[in-house]
Symmetry: C2
Subunit: 273 residues, 2 copies
């Protein structure tokens, strides 16, 4: 197996590239796969995207991201649910094993985070049969607590594990070092999830100082002990993908994507081989 | 008991006021106490500060904040420990029941957050006899996980409770809604701490959208269910102070402190009575 066979470039890392350009770049550098984004897939066409991935021999690690589930009106919430069902189908077509569920923050006017988390659990259970029928998993991604109000009210791996146990095996976990590195229970909850529940694993680093809420660092440039975390994953028998996912308004997004990818490969090689 | 007897204005909320001005403002509005800051106390003089508080009949809810414990050189770390011992003495002199321990983030070059948390626990244990002798408690404040790398590696109430159990009753908890509101175990860990371990309780609100890492909202302007949280505290028998603590670069810090205090009183009255 090639060194980079399990490595995937998440498209948000090189946002100026189209899907076709990203697939070609990955093929050129021997990067095994891509984390694909729905807007890029839509712009290219779902069937073309699937064909191009297949012909280039690249895998889709995940489809980013599901629709938020934060509508307050019942009809609007039904539309969000239908959108997620359609995205699960998109994931199946492009061959992604999961749709990354970033479930949204609090609905407008809501201060009941506990109650809203319960509603989210019910809605994910409702989506599960669709996911199961399509052979795609709901990739629950706990987001850093600083996003709890605005992007995703699922904040810890422990919550994600609890949700998976409630939903059944149509659910899985998308784990990301940026969101979880600070958590005293990160290792415990990774081991609880086990290799069958972790569907893809996201790398980046935590920058010091952190200048805004989209300021991720390249692996090696921050304070996260990525080698140790990789050790946990090996130890527990994880054999899935490792994605490089950088949201970086002030740095990497401003660079030539070719440079970002080259440096990303250099930094990630020891972490993905 | 007056409506505002348990209410305290944390000085960081009105940073342009001196300590004397803050004491007078609290007296004028019937606000029972103050969360005092070391730089303000030093500028005024510790004994004068203590006398002014006493004569104005205002209590000190806490002294903010302890020195970070993040030095890498042994001699520098000893200086940080000595600084904390001196600050415990300052707290005792001004009559504050606790020194708020914001323990710092990761030492330069350190990626081992778990190991560093262990060292912090040992250092706090080492400070405990000094605190006990002075009748001041180490007020452990878990800070939001977004500050784990740079300001405080104690990130959850659960960690703070574990630390208190290890250190003994020289340690207590400073709980703050801003840092803990998102935590699925916030209520559970407050109840675990119980009224004797919570030494003061900080109010503000979580603003949506959050624009930077010092963007706290006035109670009522954010997404935190403060009334519900007050209910938990009443239910568990908490009878300590409630402080208004706003870090707000883009809003409240730019206003006339008199206006901030008036609006703060208006918003907090139902939460502190």
């Amino acid at each position: 197996m090639s060194t980079l066979a399990r490595f995937a470039l998440n498209q948000i890392t090189t946002p100026t590239w189209s899907l076709a350009e990203t697939i070609e770049a990955c093929a050129r550098h021997g990067v095994g796969g891509l984390g694909v984004w729905r807007d890029k897939v839509e712009a290219y066409g779902v069937d073309r995207a699937a064909r191009h991935l297949r012909e280039a021999g690249r895998f889709a690690a995940c489809l980013c991201t599901g629709a938020w589930l934060d509508a307050t009106e019942p009809a609007a919430l039904r539309r969000q649910m239908a959108e997620n069902a359609a995205l699960l189908e998109m994931a199946a077509t492009v061959g992604a094993p999961c749709l990354v569920m970033v479930v949204g923050g609090l609905p407008a006017g809501c201060k009941d985070i506990g109650g809203h988390r319960e509603r989210i659990a019910d809605l994910l259970c409702e989506l599960a049969p669709t996911a199961r029928a399509l052979g795609v998993r709901l990739g629950i991604e706990p987001l850093h607590p600083m996003y709890a109000a605005e992007r995703c009210c699922i904040s810890t791996l422990e919550q994600a594990n609890d949700l998976c146990e409630r939903i059944g095996d149509a659910a899985a976990i998308v784990a990301d070092v940026y969101h979880c590195w600070w958590d005293p229970h990160f290792e415990r909850e990774l081991r609880r999830a086990g290799p069958s529940r972790i569907v893809t694993f996201h790398y980046c680093d935590w920058r010091v100082p952190t200048r805004n809420l989209r300021d991720r660092a390249m692996p090696g440039d921050g304070v996260i002990d990525l080698a140790r975390i990789r050790g946990w994953l090996d130890d527990m028998g994880y054999t899935g993908p490792f994605e490089l996912e950088l949201f970086s308004e002030l740095d990497w997004w401003q660079r030539d994507p070719e440079e970002t990818l080259k440096i990303g490969i250099e930094r990630c090689t020891p972490l993905v081989s």
